[in-house]
Protein backbone atom coordinates (compact mmCIF):
# COMPACT_ATOMS: atom_id res chain seq x y z
CA UNK A 1 0.00 0.00 0.00
CA UNK A 2 2.75 2.43 0.96
CA UNK A 3 4.56 1.79 -2.29
CA UNK A 4 1.76 2.92 -4.55
CA UNK A 5 1.27 6.07 -2.47
CA UNK A 6 4.98 6.81 -2.73
CA UNK A 7 4.74 6.30 -6.50
CA UNK A 8 1.79 8.71 -6.74
CA UNK A 9 3.65 11.30 -4.66
CA UNK A 10 6.64 10.96 -6.96
CA UNK A 11 4.44 11.41 -10.04
CA UNK A 12 3.01 14.59 -8.54
CA UNK A 13 6.44 15.90 -7.58
CA UNK A 14 7.92 15.16 -11.01
CA UNK A 15 4.81 16.19 -12.98
CA UNK A 16 4.09 12.78 -14.49
CA UNK A 17 0.44 13.10 -15.50
CA UNK A 18 -0.37 9.79 -17.14
CA UNK A 19 1.02 6.94 -19.20
CA UNK A 20 0.91 8.91 -22.46
CA UNK A 21 2.66 11.98 -21.11
CA UNK A 22 6.18 12.35 -22.55
CA UNK A 23 7.28 14.29 -19.47
CA UNK A 24 9.49 13.75 -17.58
CA UNK A 25 11.59 11.93 -20.18
CA UNK A 26 13.07 9.49 -17.65
CA UNK A 27 9.54 8.33 -16.71
CA UNK A 28 8.34 7.89 -20.29
CA UNK A 29 6.16 4.81 -20.74
CA UNK A 30 5.42 4.54 -17.03
CA UNK A 31 2.01 5.00 -15.46
CA UNK A 32 1.37 8.47 -14.09
CA UNK A 33 -0.65 10.05 -11.31
CA UNK A 34 -3.84 9.32 -13.25
CA UNK A 35 -3.44 5.54 -13.55
CA UNK A 36 -1.82 5.06 -10.16
CA UNK A 37 -4.56 6.93 -8.30
CA UNK A 38 -7.21 4.85 -10.07
CA UNK A 39 -5.26 1.74 -9.11
CA UNK A 40 -4.99 2.88 -5.48
CA UNK A 41 -8.75 3.36 -5.27
CA UNK A 42 -9.28 -0.09 -6.82
CA UNK A 43 -6.99 -1.48 -4.13
CA UNK A 44 -9.42 0.08 -1.64
CA UNK A 45 -6.93 2.47 -0.16
CA UNK A 46 -8.94 5.12 1.64
CA UNK A 47 -9.29 8.20 -0.59
CA UNK A 48 -8.45 10.43 2.38
CA UNK A 49 -5.18 8.55 2.76
CA UNK A 50 -4.40 8.98 -0.94
CA UNK A 51 -4.91 12.70 -0.51
CA UNK A 52 -2.94 13.08 2.70
CA UNK A 53 -0.16 10.55 2.04
CA UNK A 54 0.40 10.98 -1.69
CA UNK A 55 -1.04 14.13 -3.26
CA UNK A 56 -0.28 16.55 -0.46
CA UNK A 57 3.32 15.38 0.15
CA UNK A 58 4.00 15.34 -3.61
CA UNK A 59 2.88 18.93 -4.02
CA UNK A 60 4.67 19.91 -0.83
CA UNK A 61 8.01 18.69 -2.15
CA UNK A 62 7.68 20.60 -5.41
CA UNK A 63 6.34 23.67 -3.57
CA UNK A 64 9.34 23.67 -1.25
CA UNK A 65 11.76 23.23 -4.15
CA UNK A 66 10.08 26.15 -5.91
CA UNK A 67 10.44 28.30 -2.81
CA UNK A 68 14.16 27.49 -2.74
CA UNK A 69 14.57 28.25 -6.45
CA UNK A 70 15.41 24.62 -7.25
CA UNK A 71 12.51 24.24 -9.68
CA UNK A 72 10.63 26.78 -11.77
CA UNK A 73 7.09 27.67 -12.82
CA UNK A 74 6.90 25.04 -15.60
CA UNK A 75 7.70 22.35 -13.03
CA UNK A 76 5.02 23.67 -10.70
CA UNK A 77 2.52 23.64 -13.58
CA UNK A 78 3.34 20.04 -14.48
CA UNK A 79 2.94 18.98 -10.85
CA UNK A 80 -0.40 20.76 -10.67
CA UNK A 81 -1.51 18.96 -13.83
CA UNK A 82 -0.52 15.61 -12.36
CA UNK A 83 -2.32 16.47 -9.13
CA UNK A 84 -5.46 17.43 -11.04
CA UNK A 85 -5.36 14.07 -12.81
CA UNK A 86 -5.36 12.39 -9.39
CA UNK A 87 -8.00 14.72 -8.02
CA UNK A 88 -10.41 13.70 -10.79
CA UNK A 89 -10.51 10.22 -9.25
CA UNK A 90 -11.01 11.63 -5.76
CA UNK A 91 -13.76 14.07 -6.76
CA UNK A 92 -16.69 11.70 -6.02
CA UNK A 93 -15.35 11.17 -2.51
CA UNK A 94 -15.14 14.91 -1.89
CA UNK A 95 -18.71 15.27 -3.18
CA UNK A 96 -20.02 12.49 -0.93
CA UNK A 97 -18.23 13.99 2.06
CA UNK A 98 -16.06 10.91 2.59
CA UNK A 99 -12.97 13.03 2.07
CA UNK A 100 -12.72 16.47 3.59
CA UNK A 101 -10.42 19.31 2.63
CA UNK A 102 -8.30 21.02 5.25
CA UNK A 103 -10.35 24.14 4.90
CA UNK A 104 -11.51 26.77 2.45
CA UNK A 105 -9.19 29.36 0.94
CA UNK A 106 -10.72 32.31 -0.88
CA UNK A 107 -8.31 33.99 -3.27
CA UNK A 108 -8.52 36.97 -5.59
CA UNK A 109 -6.57 39.80 -7.17
CA UNK A 110 -7.60 43.06 -5.54
CA UNK A 111 -9.76 45.71 -7.12
CA UNK A 112 -7.97 47.78 -9.72
CA UNK A 113 -5.62 44.98 -10.71
CA UNK A 114 -6.21 42.52 -13.57
CA UNK A 115 -3.08 40.44 -13.19
CA UNK A 116 -3.84 36.79 -12.51
CA UNK A 117 -0.80 34.58 -13.05
CA UNK A 118 0.66 34.77 -9.54
CA UNK A 119 -2.74 34.28 -7.99
CA UNK A 120 -3.41 31.24 -10.16
CA UNK A 121 -0.11 29.64 -9.16
CA UNK A 122 -0.86 30.14 -5.48
CA UNK A 123 -4.34 28.69 -6.00
CA UNK A 124 -2.91 25.58 -7.67
CA UNK A 125 -0.40 24.90 -4.91
CA UNK A 126 -2.87 25.57 -2.08
CA UNK A 127 -5.31 23.18 -3.74
CA UNK A 128 -2.49 20.67 -3.89
CA UNK A 129 -2.01 21.24 -0.18
CA UNK A 130 -5.43 19.74 0.42
CA UNK A 131 -7.47 22.94 0.59
CA UNK A 132 -10.66 23.85 -1.24
CA UNK A 133 -9.83 26.95 -3.27
CA UNK A 134 -12.48 29.48 -4.23
CA UNK A 135 -11.00 31.74 -6.87
CA UNK A 136 -12.85 35.04 -7.13
CA UNK A 137 -10.78 36.12 -10.13
CA UNK A 138 -9.28 39.53 -10.75
CA UNK A 139 -10.35 43.11 -9.92
CA UNK A 140 -12.21 41.79 -6.86
CA UNK A 141 -14.04 44.31 -4.69
CA UNK A 142 -14.23 44.36 -0.90
CA UNK A 143 -17.91 43.44 -1.14
CA UNK A 144 -17.11 40.36 -3.16
CA UNK A 145 -14.52 39.14 -0.64
CA UNK A 146 -16.95 39.78 2.24
CA UNK A 147 -19.73 38.04 0.32
CA UNK A 148 -17.54 34.98 -0.19
CA UNK A 149 -16.73 34.95 3.53
CA UNK A 150 -20.44 35.23 4.35
CA UNK A 151 -20.96 32.09 2.29
CA UNK A 152 -17.91 30.29 3.69
CA UNK A 153 -17.59 31.08 7.38
CA UNK A 154 -14.14 30.33 8.75
CA UNK A 155 -12.43 30.46 5.37
CA UNK A 156 -8.97 31.98 5.01
CA UNK A 157 -8.35 34.67 2.41
CA UNK A 158 -5.52 35.37 0.00
CA UNK A 159 -5.10 38.75 -1.69
CA UNK A 160 -2.84 39.41 -4.65
CA UNK A 161 -1.65 42.73 -6.09
CA UNK A 162 0.85 43.31 -8.86
CA UNK A 163 0.76 47.07 -9.02
CA UNK A 164 1.95 49.50 -6.39
CA UNK A 165 -1.04 51.65 -7.30
CA UNK A 166 -3.46 48.95 -6.11
CA UNK A 167 -1.77 48.33 -2.78
CA UNK A 168 -4.08 50.84 -1.03
CA UNK A 169 -7.06 48.74 -2.21
CA UNK A 170 -5.43 45.74 -0.57
CA UNK A 171 -5.24 47.68 2.68
CA UNK A 172 -8.94 48.62 2.47
CA UNK A 173 -9.97 45.02 1.82
CA UNK A 174 -7.92 43.70 4.73
CA UNK A 175 -9.43 46.36 7.00
CA UNK A 176 -13.00 45.51 5.97
CA UNK A 177 -12.44 41.77 6.37
CA UNK A 178 -10.92 42.22 9.82
CA UNK A 179 -13.76 44.53 10.88
CA UNK A 180 -16.46 42.03 10.00
CA UNK A 181 -14.57 38.78 10.59
CA UNK A 182 -11.67 39.55 12.99
CA UNK A 183 -10.59 35.91 13.22
CA UNK A 184 -10.19 35.47 9.47
CA UNK A 185 -6.63 34.72 8.43
CA UNK A 186 -5.56 36.94 5.55
CA UNK A 187 -2.44 36.25 3.48
CA UNK A 188 -1.15 38.76 0.97
CA UNK A 189 1.30 38.49 -1.89
CA UNK A 190 2.45 40.02 -5.15
CA UNK A 191 5.40 41.80 -6.71
CA UNK A 192 5.39 45.04 -4.68
CA UNK A 193 4.41 43.43 -1.36
CA UNK A 194 6.66 42.57 1.56
CA UNK A 195 6.42 41.48 5.15
CA UNK A 196 6.51 44.98 6.60
CA UNK A 197 3.64 46.01 4.34
CA UNK A 198 1.63 43.00 5.57
CA UNK A 199 2.28 44.08 9.12
CA UNK A 200 1.39 47.69 8.35
CA UNK A 201 -2.02 46.87 6.87
CA UNK A 202 -2.93 44.22 9.44
CA UNK A 203 -2.65 41.13 7.24
CA UNK A 204 -1.65 37.93 9.02
CA UNK A 205 1.09 36.90 6.66
CA UNK A 206 3.01 37.62 3.49
CA UNK A 207 4.79 34.97 1.46
CA UNK A 208 6.79 35.38 -1.72
CA UNK A 209 6.03 31.81 -2.80
CA UNK A 210 2.94 29.57 -2.84
CA UNK A 211 4.30 26.91 -0.48
CA UNK A 212 4.77 29.53 2.22
CA UNK A 213 1.04 30.20 1.99
CA UNK A 214 0.26 26.47 2.28
CA UNK A 215 2.50 26.05 5.31
CA UNK A 216 0.90 29.05 6.96
CA UNK A 217 -2.63 27.81 6.23
CA UNK A 218 -1.78 24.35 7.56
CA UNK A 219 -0.51 25.93 10.77
CA UNK A 220 -3.91 27.51 11.34
CA UNK A 221 -5.90 24.24 11.46
Amino acid sequence: MEEILTQIALCIERGKINLESPYPPDMKGQPGADELTKQAIEQEIAPGKILSDALVPGMQVVGEKFAKGEVYIPDLLMSAKAMNASMEHLKPFFESGEVKTRGVFIIGTVQGDLHDIGKNLVGMVVKGGGWEVIDLGVDVSTEKFIGALDQNPGAAVGLSALLTTTMPNMENIVKSIKEKYPDTKVIIGGAPINESYAEKIGADAYYPDPQGAVNFLNSTV
Binding site: V71, I73, P74, D75, L77, L114, T164
Partner: protein, 361 residues
Amino acid sequence: MNSREIINAIVRDKECPERMGLFEHWWEDTQGAWESEGFPKGVDLVDYYNFDIRPITGCFNQTAAILDQWEVVEETEDTIVSINGWGAKLRHWKHKSGPPEHIGFELTNDDIWREKYRPHLLDLDIRRFGDIEQVKADFDKFMATDKWCCYNNILITEIMRASMGDIVMLESMYLNPAWIKDFCDVVTNMLIVHYEYLFDKIGVPDGMFIYEDMGYTYGPIMSPELQREFIFPYHKRLIDFVHSYDIPFVMHSCGKIRPYLQSIFESGVDCLQVLEAKAGQHVAEFASAVDNKMAFMGNLNIVAYETNDRAELENEILPKLEAVRTNRIPYVFHSDHSIPRSVKPETYEYSLELFRRHGHY
Protein backbone atom coordinates in the same frame (compact mmCIF):
# COMPACT_ATOMS: atom_id res chain seq x y z
CA MET B 1 29.29 64.78 -27.19
CA ASN B 2 25.69 64.69 -28.36
CA SER B 3 23.12 62.09 -27.37
CA ARG B 4 23.86 59.80 -30.29
CA GLU B 5 27.56 59.83 -29.51
CA ILE B 6 26.98 59.26 -25.80
CA ILE B 7 24.71 56.24 -26.31
CA ASN B 8 26.87 54.78 -29.07
CA ALA B 9 29.87 54.99 -26.76
CA ILE B 10 27.97 53.31 -23.93
CA VAL B 11 25.78 50.76 -25.70
CA ARG B 12 27.71 49.97 -28.86
CA ASP B 13 31.28 50.41 -27.67
CA LYS B 14 30.81 49.59 -23.95
CA GLU B 15 32.80 52.66 -23.00
CA CYS B 16 32.35 55.26 -20.29
CA PRO B 17 32.17 58.64 -22.06
CA GLU B 18 31.96 62.05 -20.36
CA ARG B 19 28.65 61.21 -18.72
CA MET B 20 26.15 58.38 -18.31
CA GLY B 21 23.22 58.10 -20.72
CA LEU B 22 19.70 59.24 -19.87
CA PHE B 23 16.36 57.65 -20.74
CA GLU B 24 13.06 56.71 -19.11
CA HIS B 25 9.82 54.85 -19.66
CA TRP B 26 6.38 55.85 -18.36
CA TRP B 27 3.22 53.98 -17.61
CA GLU B 28 0.54 54.95 -20.11
CA ASP B 29 -1.55 56.89 -17.64
CA THR B 30 1.25 58.85 -15.94
CA GLN B 31 1.50 61.80 -18.28
CA GLY B 32 -2.28 62.34 -18.27
CA ALA B 33 -2.34 62.23 -14.46
CA TRP B 34 0.51 64.74 -14.31
CA GLU B 35 -1.24 66.99 -16.82
CA SER B 36 -4.37 67.03 -14.67
CA GLU B 37 -2.19 68.48 -11.90
CA GLY B 38 -0.59 71.21 -13.95
CA PHE B 39 2.16 69.50 -15.97
CA PRO B 40 2.43 71.05 -19.48
CA LYS B 41 -0.04 69.38 -21.82
CA GLY B 42 0.98 67.19 -24.73
CA VAL B 43 4.74 67.58 -24.42
CA ASP B 44 7.09 65.08 -25.98
CA LEU B 45 8.85 63.69 -22.90
CA VAL B 46 12.00 62.75 -24.83
CA ASP B 47 12.45 66.40 -25.79
CA TYR B 48 11.06 67.87 -22.59
CA TYR B 49 13.55 65.99 -20.41
CA ASN B 50 16.24 65.90 -23.08
CA PHE B 51 16.61 62.12 -23.07
CA ASP B 52 19.33 60.58 -25.19
CA ILE B 53 17.21 57.80 -26.69
CA ARG B 54 14.32 58.16 -29.13
CA PRO B 55 12.25 55.07 -30.02
CA ILE B 56 11.12 55.80 -33.55
CA THR B 57 9.32 52.94 -35.25
CA GLY B 58 9.65 49.26 -36.00
CA CYS B 59 6.93 48.04 -33.69
CA PHE B 60 5.08 46.41 -36.55
CA ASN B 61 2.19 44.01 -36.23
CA GLN B 62 3.80 40.66 -35.52
CA THR B 63 0.58 38.67 -35.12
CA ALA B 64 -0.88 36.19 -37.57
CA ALA B 65 -4.01 38.28 -38.22
CA ILE B 66 -2.25 41.10 -39.97
CA LEU B 67 -5.06 43.58 -40.37
CA ASP B 68 -7.48 42.95 -37.53
CA GLN B 69 -5.05 42.94 -34.68
CA TRP B 70 -7.55 43.87 -32.00
CA GLU B 71 -11.25 43.08 -32.13
CA VAL B 72 -13.27 44.60 -29.29
CA VAL B 73 -15.81 42.12 -27.96
CA GLU B 74 -16.94 43.76 -24.72
CA GLU B 75 -16.65 47.20 -23.21
CA THR B 76 -17.59 48.62 -19.84
CA GLU B 77 -16.99 52.02 -18.30
CA ASP B 78 -13.60 50.87 -16.99
CA THR B 79 -12.43 47.93 -19.08
CA ILE B 80 -12.33 46.66 -22.59
CA VAL B 81 -12.20 43.01 -23.65
CA SER B 82 -10.58 42.41 -26.98
CA ILE B 83 -9.31 39.54 -29.07
CA ASN B 84 -5.80 40.01 -30.40
CA GLY B 85 -4.39 38.79 -33.68
CA TRP B 86 -3.65 35.41 -32.11
CA GLY B 87 -7.23 34.81 -30.99
CA ALA B 88 -6.37 35.56 -27.35
CA LYS B 89 -9.06 37.24 -25.28
CA LEU B 90 -7.66 39.86 -22.90
CA ARG B 91 -9.23 42.42 -20.60
CA HIS B 92 -7.51 45.81 -20.38
CA TRP B 93 -8.16 48.94 -18.36
CA LYS B 94 -9.47 51.82 -20.45
CA HIS B 95 -8.16 54.71 -18.40
CA LYS B 96 -5.16 53.37 -16.54
CA SER B 97 -2.07 51.24 -16.96
CA GLY B 98 -1.49 47.67 -15.92
CA PRO B 99 -1.10 44.20 -17.34
CA PRO B 100 -4.23 42.68 -18.89
CA GLU B 101 -6.29 39.81 -17.55
CA HIS B 102 -5.76 36.65 -19.59
CA ILE B 103 -9.30 35.48 -20.19
CA GLY B 104 -8.66 32.81 -22.78
CA PHE B 105 -6.39 31.67 -25.57
CA GLU B 106 -7.29 29.99 -28.84
CA LEU B 107 -3.75 28.91 -29.67
CA THR B 108 -3.50 25.97 -27.30
CA ASN B 109 -1.95 23.23 -29.45
CA ASP B 110 0.12 22.63 -32.53
CA ASP B 111 -2.84 21.61 -34.71
CA ILE B 112 -4.36 25.09 -34.33
CA TRP B 113 -0.91 26.61 -34.84
CA ARG B 114 -0.29 24.71 -38.08
CA GLU B 115 -3.74 25.21 -39.56
CA LYS B 116 -4.70 28.72 -38.53
CA TYR B 117 -1.66 30.78 -37.64
CA ARG B 118 1.61 29.42 -39.01
CA PRO B 119 0.79 29.95 -42.71
CA HIS B 120 0.33 33.71 -42.18
CA LEU B 121 3.81 34.15 -40.75
CA LEU B 122 5.96 32.67 -43.47
CA ASP B 123 6.36 35.56 -45.91
CA LEU B 124 7.05 39.26 -45.95
CA ASP B 125 3.82 41.21 -45.75
CA ILE B 126 4.30 44.95 -45.75
CA ARG B 127 0.77 45.49 -44.44
CA ARG B 128 2.32 44.72 -41.05
CA PHE B 129 3.95 48.16 -41.10
CA GLY B 130 0.74 50.11 -41.59
CA ASP B 131 1.41 53.43 -43.29
CA ILE B 132 4.88 52.79 -44.65
CA GLU B 133 5.21 56.37 -45.93
CA GLN B 134 4.64 57.65 -42.42
CA VAL B 135 7.19 55.14 -41.09
CA LYS B 136 9.73 56.55 -43.57
CA ALA B 137 8.82 60.15 -42.71
CA ASP B 138 9.24 59.46 -38.96
CA PHE B 139 12.54 57.73 -39.56
CA ASP B 140 13.94 60.60 -41.61
CA LYS B 141 12.67 63.24 -39.18
CA PHE B 142 14.13 61.65 -36.05
CA MET B 143 17.37 60.41 -37.57
CA ALA B 144 18.09 64.03 -38.55
CA THR B 145 18.22 64.90 -34.83
CA ASP B 146 21.14 64.09 -32.54
CA LYS B 147 19.11 61.57 -30.50
CA TRP B 148 20.04 57.88 -30.52
CA CYS B 149 17.14 56.47 -32.53
CA CYS B 150 15.98 52.88 -32.22
CA TYR B 151 13.44 50.53 -33.69
CA ASN B 152 11.52 48.64 -31.07
CA ASN B 153 9.28 45.62 -30.82
CA ILE B 154 8.69 42.54 -28.73
CA LEU B 155 10.49 39.23 -29.07
CA ILE B 156 9.62 35.54 -28.93
CA THR B 157 8.87 35.14 -25.22
CA GLU B 158 6.52 38.10 -25.33
CA ILE B 159 5.00 36.91 -28.61
CA MET B 160 4.40 33.43 -27.18
CA ARG B 161 2.86 34.97 -24.08
CA ALA B 162 0.53 37.15 -26.17
CA SER B 163 -0.47 34.27 -28.42
CA MET B 164 -0.78 31.18 -26.22
CA GLY B 165 -0.45 32.57 -22.68
CA ASP B 166 2.11 31.73 -20.01
CA ILE B 167 0.62 28.40 -19.01
CA VAL B 168 0.40 26.80 -22.45
CA MET B 169 3.83 28.22 -23.33
CA LEU B 170 5.53 26.86 -20.24
CA GLU B 171 3.73 23.50 -20.14
CA SER B 172 4.34 22.92 -23.83
CA MET B 173 8.09 23.30 -23.39
CA TYR B 174 7.81 19.98 -21.57
CA LEU B 175 4.85 18.36 -23.29
CA ASN B 176 5.34 19.42 -26.90
CA PRO B 177 8.82 20.90 -27.32
CA ALA B 178 8.81 20.48 -31.10
CA TRP B 179 5.84 22.82 -31.39
CA ILE B 180 7.42 25.53 -29.27
CA LYS B 181 10.66 25.31 -31.25
CA ASP B 182 8.76 25.53 -34.53
CA PHE B 183 6.83 28.56 -33.22
CA CYS B 184 10.04 30.32 -32.18
CA ASP B 185 11.74 29.43 -35.44
CA VAL B 186 8.88 30.73 -37.63
CA VAL B 187 8.38 33.90 -35.58
CA THR B 188 12.10 34.71 -35.47
CA ASN B 189 12.33 34.29 -39.23
CA MET B 190 9.26 36.50 -39.66
CA LEU B 191 10.87 39.21 -37.52
CA ILE B 192 14.11 39.00 -39.49
CA VAL B 193 12.38 39.18 -42.88
CA HIS B 194 10.44 42.27 -41.82
CA TYR B 195 13.40 44.01 -40.20
CA GLU B 196 15.43 43.30 -43.32
CA TYR B 197 12.76 45.13 -45.29
CA LEU B 198 12.74 48.05 -42.83
CA PHE B 199 16.53 48.32 -42.83
CA ASP B 200 16.75 48.16 -46.62
CA LYS B 201 13.74 50.30 -47.56
CA ILE B 202 13.37 52.70 -44.65
CA GLY B 203 16.83 52.86 -43.14
CA VAL B 204 19.13 51.50 -40.49
CA PRO B 205 18.56 53.13 -37.09
CA ASP B 206 21.19 53.63 -34.39
CA GLY B 207 20.08 50.46 -32.65
CA MET B 208 17.31 48.06 -31.67
CA PHE B 209 15.38 48.16 -28.40
CA ILE B 210 13.47 44.95 -27.85
CA TYR B 211 11.09 44.05 -25.01
CA GLU B 212 11.30 40.48 -23.77
CA ASP B 213 10.04 39.86 -20.23
CA MET B 214 11.61 36.69 -18.89
CA GLY B 215 11.30 37.07 -15.14
CA TYR B 216 9.04 37.95 -12.30
CA THR B 217 10.01 39.46 -8.97
CA TYR B 218 11.09 36.23 -7.33
CA GLY B 219 12.69 34.38 -10.19
CA PRO B 220 12.97 33.71 -13.88
CA ILE B 221 9.86 32.30 -15.55
CA MET B 222 11.62 29.11 -16.58
CA SER B 223 14.81 27.30 -15.64
CA PRO B 224 18.08 28.49 -17.16
CA GLU B 225 18.19 25.13 -18.98
CA LEU B 226 14.81 25.74 -20.64
CA GLN B 227 15.80 29.31 -21.49
CA ARG B 228 18.98 28.00 -23.08
CA GLU B 229 17.07 25.41 -25.10
CA PHE B 230 13.96 27.32 -26.17
CA ILE B 231 14.83 31.02 -26.12
CA PHE B 232 18.57 31.53 -26.49
CA PRO B 233 18.97 30.12 -30.05
CA TYR B 234 16.31 32.47 -31.42
CA HIS B 235 17.63 35.49 -29.54
CA LYS B 236 21.07 34.75 -30.92
CA ARG B 237 19.80 34.38 -34.47
CA LEU B 238 17.99 37.72 -34.37
CA ILE B 239 20.86 39.51 -32.65
CA ASP B 240 23.40 38.13 -35.13
CA PHE B 241 21.17 39.48 -37.89
CA VAL B 242 20.97 42.91 -36.22
CA HIS B 243 24.73 42.95 -35.68
CA SER B 244 25.23 42.26 -39.39
CA TYR B 245 23.99 45.84 -39.87
CA ASP B 246 26.60 47.09 -37.37
CA ILE B 247 24.06 48.31 -34.85
CA PRO B 248 23.68 47.34 -31.20
CA PHE B 249 20.86 45.45 -29.53
CA VAL B 250 19.22 46.61 -26.30
CA MET B 251 17.00 44.08 -24.51
CA HIS B 252 14.45 44.82 -21.81
CA SER B 253 13.36 42.21 -19.36
CA CYS B 254 11.37 42.63 -16.19
CA GLY B 255 11.95 40.53 -13.13
CA LYS B 256 14.74 38.48 -11.70
CA ILE B 257 16.79 37.36 -14.67
CA ARG B 258 20.20 37.01 -13.07
CA PRO B 259 20.22 33.24 -13.75
CA TYR B 260 19.98 34.03 -17.48
CA LEU B 261 22.76 36.62 -17.54
CA GLN B 262 25.39 34.39 -19.11
CA SER B 263 22.97 33.24 -21.81
CA ILE B 264 21.87 36.83 -22.49
CA PHE B 265 25.50 37.88 -22.76
CA GLU B 266 26.38 35.01 -25.09
CA SER B 267 23.40 35.80 -27.31
CA GLY B 268 25.07 39.13 -28.07
CA VAL B 269 22.86 41.58 -26.18
CA ASP B 270 24.77 44.87 -26.02
CA CYS B 271 22.74 46.55 -23.30
CA LEU B 272 20.48 44.94 -20.73
CA GLN B 273 17.58 46.94 -19.37
CA VAL B 274 15.86 47.22 -16.81
CA LEU B 275 17.46 45.28 -13.91
CA GLU B 276 14.60 45.37 -11.43
CA ALA B 277 16.01 46.29 -8.04
CA LYS B 278 12.86 44.91 -6.40
CA ALA B 279 14.05 41.49 -7.55
CA GLY B 280 17.27 41.88 -5.53
CA GLN B 281 19.48 42.75 -8.51
CA HIS B 282 22.31 45.29 -8.58
CA VAL B 283 23.92 46.79 -11.65
CA ALA B 284 27.44 46.47 -10.23
CA GLU B 285 27.02 42.75 -9.64
CA PHE B 286 25.70 42.21 -13.18
CA ALA B 287 28.51 44.27 -14.72
CA SER B 288 31.13 42.45 -12.74
CA ALA B 289 29.76 39.07 -13.89
CA VAL B 290 30.36 40.04 -17.53
CA ASP B 291 33.57 42.00 -16.97
CA ASN B 292 31.86 45.25 -18.03
CA LYS B 293 31.51 43.86 -21.57
CA MET B 294 27.82 44.66 -21.63
CA ALA B 295 26.09 47.99 -21.01
CA PHE B 296 23.24 48.35 -18.52
CA MET B 297 20.23 50.61 -18.20
CA GLY B 298 17.96 50.97 -15.19
CA ASN B 299 18.13 49.41 -11.71
CA LEU B 300 16.90 52.53 -9.85
CA ASN B 301 14.17 51.20 -7.59
CA ILE B 302 10.83 52.73 -8.50
CA VAL B 303 9.62 52.12 -4.95
CA ALA B 304 12.04 54.86 -3.81
CA TYR B 305 10.59 57.22 -6.41
CA GLU B 306 7.09 56.42 -5.19
CA THR B 307 7.87 57.61 -1.68
CA ASN B 308 8.18 61.10 -3.19
CA ASP B 309 10.79 61.65 -0.50
CA ARG B 310 14.05 63.29 -1.57
CA ALA B 311 16.12 61.50 1.05
CA GLU B 312 14.77 58.09 -0.05
CA LEU B 313 15.54 58.97 -3.64
CA GLU B 314 19.07 60.02 -2.77
CA ASN B 315 19.59 56.79 -0.80
CA GLU B 316 18.57 54.79 -3.84
CA ILE B 317 20.25 56.76 -6.61
CA LEU B 318 23.53 58.12 -5.23
CA PRO B 319 25.15 54.83 -4.15
CA LYS B 320 24.26 53.25 -7.48
CA LEU B 321 25.72 56.12 -9.49
CA GLU B 322 28.80 55.91 -7.31
CA ALA B 323 29.06 52.16 -8.02
CA VAL B 324 28.65 52.82 -11.75
CA ARG B 325 31.33 55.50 -11.70
CA THR B 326 33.80 53.60 -9.53
CA ASN B 327 33.43 50.37 -11.47
CA ARG B 328 33.44 52.11 -14.88
CA ILE B 329 30.17 50.49 -15.94
CA PRO B 330 28.72 51.56 -19.29
CA TYR B 331 25.36 52.77 -18.00
CA VAL B 332 22.15 54.60 -18.90
CA PHE B 333 20.24 56.32 -16.07
CA HIS B 334 16.72 54.87 -15.89
CA SER B 335 14.29 53.63 -13.23
CA ASP B 336 13.94 49.89 -12.72
CA HIS B 337 10.77 49.83 -14.83
CA SER B 338 8.51 52.79 -15.67
CA ILE B 339 7.38 55.94 -13.88
CA PRO B 340 3.87 55.46 -12.47
CA ARG B 341 1.34 58.20 -11.79
CA SER B 342 2.08 57.92 -8.07
CA VAL B 343 5.47 59.57 -8.67
CA LYS B 344 5.11 63.35 -8.65
CA PRO B 345 6.74 65.32 -11.48
CA GLU B 346 8.90 67.18 -8.97
CA THR B 347 10.15 63.85 -7.59
CA TYR B 348 11.10 62.66 -11.05
CA GLU B 349 12.73 66.00 -11.78
CA TYR B 350 14.74 65.76 -8.57
CA SER B 351 16.08 62.41 -9.80
CA LEU B 352 17.23 64.22 -12.94
CA GLU B 353 18.92 66.83 -10.79
CA LEU B 354 20.81 64.02 -9.05
CA PHE B 355 21.70 62.61 -12.45
CA ARG B 356 23.03 65.96 -13.65
CA ARG B 357 25.11 66.37 -10.51
CA HIS B 358 26.41 62.82 -10.20
CA GLY B 359 25.85 61.11 -13.56
CA HIS B 360 29.35 61.59 -14.94
CA TYR B 361 32.29 59.22 -14.98
